[in-house]
């Protein structure tokens, strides 16, 4: 009756430092939430160790790990008031009533939810529920904060507000925050360091700017940045003047060229080629041109005034902003 075993995450090795906001970034189903749940102790790994402060946590009960988790749907206790939601973990630990009260009010004050303490979760807006979930985590003074897509249930405007709030909170606590998201903008704006995951494997770890400027493979390259990096097989660009001179030594076959939408300009010159325009999105002072070169789709970001609605365009690449990838999709470092 046993189902097929699925390996959600393998060979993960990472270290998170004190006071760091560490983002696990990846598409849904890449294993990032599983990793978070392993750290929390909600799932025991088949192999490997989880250490907090140098102590092995395997087999330690979740509540004894002194980690706090903020869930995607907040997981507030619907039958308890906001006050009781925040106080529960201290009550089960038999902390004296006055102490509980003091700490609940303190954290409610920090997160500006004092006036909500007597409300039930169903009476809260998304942003308020989010604050309560954070308060419930903070009140315990945990050794590690784990956050599982905490902003994904909020609308766009509120998400920006809560991002700022999270930054503020992060500065107040010393404990590291491990933050799971599939939203690369969130990862870039919040993270001190990011680990990009795909198919249960960590693809690359680094600061946001490192990952953006030196992606290790096509997955990382196309996952960070909006719109994502264009990746075109070198064969589609055969004959482009000056390309061979910039390529890594050897044959062009099997290689791919990557360039960010903003690193292509409309116009003729060296490294230029023709594309067919499919459609354009006008965003105000800039325009996103969705085009095709052979069978490959690309996006070009240009100033609005430089594009007059042509159906075919000549564009040129910035020679300093090219990325080369081998057959396996790994970046080839040059120079």
């Amino acid at each position: 009756m046993k189902g097929q075993e699925i390996v959600a995450a393998r060979n993960i090795n990472l270290e998170v430092k004190d006071g760091e906001l560490f983002v696990l970034l990846g598409p849904s189903g890449c294993g990032k939430t599983t990793l978070l749940r392993i750290i929390a102790g909600l799932v025991e790994p088949d192999e490997g160790e989880v250490l907090i402060d140098g102590k092995v946590m395997n087999g330690v009960y979740p509540s004894d790990r002194n980690v706090a988790m903020v869930f995607q749907n907040y997981a507030l206790y619907p039958h308890m008031s906001v006050y009781d939601n925040i106080a529960l973990n201290m009550r089960v630990r038999r902390i004296p009533r006055e102490e509980v009260d003091r700490r609940v009010r303190e954290v409610a004050d920090t997160l500006r939810i004092t006036e909500l303490l007597n409300h039930r979760p169903k009476e809260l807006s998304g942003g308020q529920a989010q604050r309560v979930a954070l308060a419930r985590a903070m009140v315990r003074n945990p050794r590690v904060y784990l956050m599982d897509e905490p902003l994904s249930n909020l609308d766009a405007k509120l998400r920006v507000e809560m991002r700022a709030e999270l930054k503020r909170l992060h500065r107040m606590v010393d404990a590291p925050i491990i933050y799971v998201t599939h939203d690369q903008v969130e990862a870039m704006t919040l993270g001190d360091r990011i680990a990009v995951m795909d198919k249960g494997v960590i693809q690359q770890i680094g600061s946001p700017i490192e990952l953006y400027e030196n992606p290790k493979n096509t997955f990382v390259a196309s996952f960070l940045g909006t719109p994502p990096m264009n990746i075109v097989s070198a064969e589609e660009l055969v004959g482009v003047d000056g390309l061979k001179a910039l390529s890594p030594p050897g044959s062009l076959s099997g290689l791919s060229v990557g360039f960010r939408p903003g690193d292509v300009a409309i116009g003729d010159g060296p490294l230029s080629f023709d594309v067919e325009v499919e459609y354009a999105e006008l965003l105000g002072d800039e325009v996103l041109i969705h085009a095709k070169r052979g069978s490959t789709r690309l996006v070009i970001r240009a100033a609005s005034h430089t594009y007059a609605g042509q159906t075919s365009l000549r564009v040129r690449l910035d020679p300093a902003k090219l990325y080369w990838f081998n057959t396996e999709g790994e970046a080839i470092r040059q120079g």
């Binding site: 979740p62 988790m69 995607q72 206790y77 973990n89």
Partner: protein, 298 residues
Amino acid sequence: MRHLRGHERVSGLEQLTGYLFVLPTFLILGVFVLFAAVYSLWISLMHYDPFFHTVYPVGLSNYKYVASSQLYWFSMLHALEYTGVVVTIQTFLAFFFAVLFNEKTPVSRFTRAIVFIPAVTSSAVISVLFIWVFSAQGLLNAFLVHLGVHPENWLESTTWAFPAIMGLNIFTTAPYFMIMYLAGLQSIPSSILESAELDGVRNAFQRFRYFYFPMLKFTVFFVVVLGIIGSMQLFDQVFIMTDGGPGNSTYVPLIYIYNQAFVFDNFGAAAAASFILFVIILILTLAQRRLISEVRWA
């Protein structure tokens, strides 16, 4: 799509469609519940002899007759005793079963199905089966002998017949109510229980105290109300297994009503007795609704 506001009038055709959809249910309820209830209230004020078609009003004398019947109040006392024992045990047992079988393992699914079998078996079939289980050479004694308990002829003992029927009914109704609790338990999002686990809620007692019980308060209320109504209406098992005996030791209100109507042809008294029972059940239900004021959490 047309936007419908609260007070907006619905077109005649749409109204007709709506009524047509509820018509079958209304017909069935109307004929077998509403009409029957009103008709029996009417009968309770009549001398009613269906065989000779003699019907004439007698005022409240049927009620006087029932109210002064020692057997009726004796049967009512039995019903209360039965309700107290059966509802209490089945409410807890059903909850216990539900928590026990709430896991999603193949074993728990299998055992859950087995436990549920008595709840879906016809009460008449179960009763006939249990006449044998409770008999002198029956299954129950066969077990008890091994424990050194003196065998009893359960259904023929004035001491044990009623408890035996209680036991049988707990056996069949607890799994039925287990399903209600299970539905309630499974509607609790797993992230809430995980969050609780991180908060330090670690043993079954704490989970019960802080989560299962408060979140299932409404289900508990529901199970108790249905249990009480069901207990007051106890009939089939008694009718098949003991017919109110031995002596009057298992005499319950519905046996009284049945006997008045179909044994003594006293339909007026039977109707009056039913109406009194109805009022008592109504009062009990309303009282409970009062006692538990705020029971829903979401």
